[in-house]
Subunit: 334 residues, 3 copies
């Protein structure tokens, strides 16, 4: 597909300065852009990089002119460039198709335009909404419900009883509904606590590759609307993650811990079990969180504490050598 | 299924106080229980929660009476409530079945009542015991042996030569027997050390979702009886994990390290290679273990050290600002 | 297969001392070796272990005689024992075969001797080189290219547009090309940044089990030649890993970070986004790397700093109690 700079400017409500008729065939960042591609700058500090980019047309919400470039000035560069991505990479309509090589259980219900790829296994009493895409070799257990517009990529495993909302995106290798890690002891013998709960995932959730989300011991493990999980995230039994919270890769959340809404959590963070994290909390990468955290806190470190406090403490640690010398001196001269 | 409170009390050897004839159709924790469900309290500190629960019948080993509730008093509440779960969720008998859509190699041997689901691939010289369940899309390499009553969930990959014991439970996405991470250098060139060992898993082992257990470089990587691994655990080549040890999610054990019996290991712990951890060792989450640990130790932190010592050290660190001020004062007044 | 000690010595250019005619049927390490197997010692400090080993023939580059054993003296014991492994475990030639139970898309091109196992799904416009092995239940998206002599183990997911070089080895459960973790906000609403880049993997790369390598946001995520990744490693969008770098298990690299050539990186290390790590850098396990690191540095800890500096700092911390006492004394006697 090709669009002129002018056509793109119109579609994103931008004001164009420079050549209107340049033909554009794609979008990229400044570094990777080729000659017929449009690019964008997130702030004026990328001006020099923009000048050096091969892109001939640049979207910006901060500058109107760039040397030798055509500029499209918009209100919000981030939403504008995402709109342009959608122009060049429109989402494919889901075609109604069930592979002859899929195996579908009893009492199956599905909506309109559902794609079920090869070697999918769907057990009994499963319900899929409209425009659902089930990738190759996905395994879906009994009594699973999946809402409209949800896409499951290849090689995902969804255990019995899982409920998944609308417009959810799940990447390959993720496992949803496996047993929580629950054992007790009786006279020195380890006994498994059967895990009879389930997993409930809201709308607009994205789950990265190779994540694991355990079923509740009793009742649900809950991932609320618009939560975004990166890759290799572990969510234990009966955890609840609040609406709109973002969690980076390799973070793990132990059993029954509750995380609030709109939190931003770094990678490789660990949460102990049975704690409550407030809303709008920010947590630095590799933090170890072992107690309740109030709304709006910004914490990091192990044990996690306010970022400013940790930075001050680190600064003191860097000066320990000096302190030891001073004290040594004082002791000598006593 | 429905049982009366009295019937349940009889099955778990409990003494009932209150209404004998309440009909019960399931079990849940206090919070999630609905009206016709039975619940339980692990200690008297949950009394208030029990009163507020919708459950009409409560199992306990600590109290005999709860306001408006029927109570079943037992000797051990944990084993009693597990027994009740098994009443309502009896384990399904494995049906003898091999999907026409599975592919089975040469010289295959299997016991009684073995279930092999769709799109399973089993290579040559594989042996399965009685009551084995192989979930959909599982891949099993050559010369693999799996003991009685073992269940492999969908989408597990088991490489050539793996030996798995009886009553083992393996969750989706787990990989057993992939190559250990072994390389050497020759004149600046990286050379792979072929990994020709295997993995040996004992009886009663549970392995969570998306774990990775590497084959030995030579000889076996060993997971002994009743070891329980949570999700996303990494076990490197030639590691040995002792009987009855529990390891929480995202922990990693480097090559040839030996972990003792009945240890309890937190999540996101890292072990360096070639160390020995004793029996009955407790290790806190996110610890970094870089040397041998004696029997019975309780350690945490990076580098890991006795928990009490670490806590004291942390307390000192919190007071560093104060110390700097004191020394500053002393230096000034010298 | 059986070879005499003499035959093995000839094949690895070694000088034999002891019995020439001992029949050898395999190779193992000292501990696991059985009677008819050959073994090796990496240095004289394993002499005692060698004497106690059941192996009758020992390869060494440091000693010529071991009590009661036949010794083959070589120039480099590591390359010699690898050569012997290849003698007993020669790499299987890839047979040209496409399972009738695989599903292959349009416009498929493949070289000579390509093995495609059962339940593989290959989408449109895919190209495979010579001697490629695609394991069971592997899913390959549109427009994927895979070079000669590359082996993909079962249950790997490769998304659209991925480019994989020659002689690459990928273990089960790994996901290549899933979406990077990219979101922006518009009036409090989280908006996904469509990830339209791809993944480019060089020659001689090995990727362990259950790794996740995200596609670029724009342009490629790059794994250069001879990079070796252990299990459960996370590589975010637009990361670049330099030639010959080794990364141990469970390490995570955030978006757009660039890692140099010939680095050695421990397990469970975390890298923040948008930093640059030099060449020949060594990083200790569990380090948290949050800024650029120069060529040749050896760092560890969180925040990561030079290993010597960290060790000194740790030593001071161990002595804090003593310091507090001294200061307390000084304050009292002021």
């Amino acid at each position: 597909m090709e669009l002129s700079a002018k056509e793109i400017a119109e579609k994103i409500n931008g004001i164009i300065t420079g050549k209107n008729n340049i033909k554009i065939s794609g979008i990229s960042d400044l570094k990777n852009a080729r000659k017929n591609q449009i690019s964008f700058i997130l702030s004026p500090k990328f001006l020099k990089e923009a000048e050096e980019s091969q892109a001939e047309v640049i979207i910006s919400d901060s500058v109107e002119k760039i040397n030798k470039k055509t500029v499209i000035k918009v209100k919000n560069v981030r939403t504008a460039y995402i709109a342009v991505i959608h122009l060049f990479y429109p989402e494919k309509k889901i075609v109604d198709y069930t592979s002859e090589k899929a195996v579908i259980g009893k009492n199956f219900k599905k909506g309109k335009n559902v794609y079920i790829d090869d070697f999918v296994v769907i057990k009994d009493d499963v319900q899929l909404g409209d425009n659902v895409y089930i990738g190759a070799n996905v395994c879906i257990g009994n009594s699973v419900k999946i809402g409209n517009n949800t896409k499951i990529n290849p090689l995902v495993s969804i255990y019995d009883g899982t409920e998944i909302g609308e417009s959810v995106l799940i990447h390959s290798g993720t496992v949803i509904g496996s047993d929580g890690f629950g054992f007790t002891e009786d006279n020195g013998k380890i006994i498994k606590i059967p895990q009879i709960g389930f997993v409930k995932i809201g709308n607009g959730v994205e789950i990265g590759a190779n994540c694991t989300i355990d079923r509740g011991s009793f009742g649900p493990t809950i991932i609320n609307d618009n939560v975004k999980l990166d890759n290799l995230v572990h969510v234990a039994h009966n955890v609840e993650i609040g609406e709109g919270t973002l969690i980076a890769a390799q973070t793990g959340i132990a059993g029954s811990t509750k995380i609030g809404k709109h939190c931003i959590i770094g990678g490789q963070v660990g949460f102990v079990d049975h704690i409550t994290i407030g809303n709008f909390v920010k947590i630095g990468s590799q933090a170890g969180v072992s107690k309740d955290i109030p709304d709006g806190a910004a914490i990091t470190g192990t044990p996690a504490r306010p970022i400013k406090e940790l930075r001050r403490s680190e600064a003191y640690m860097m000066r320990l050598e000096e302190l030891f010398k001073q004290v040594n001196e004082l002791v000598k001269n006593k």
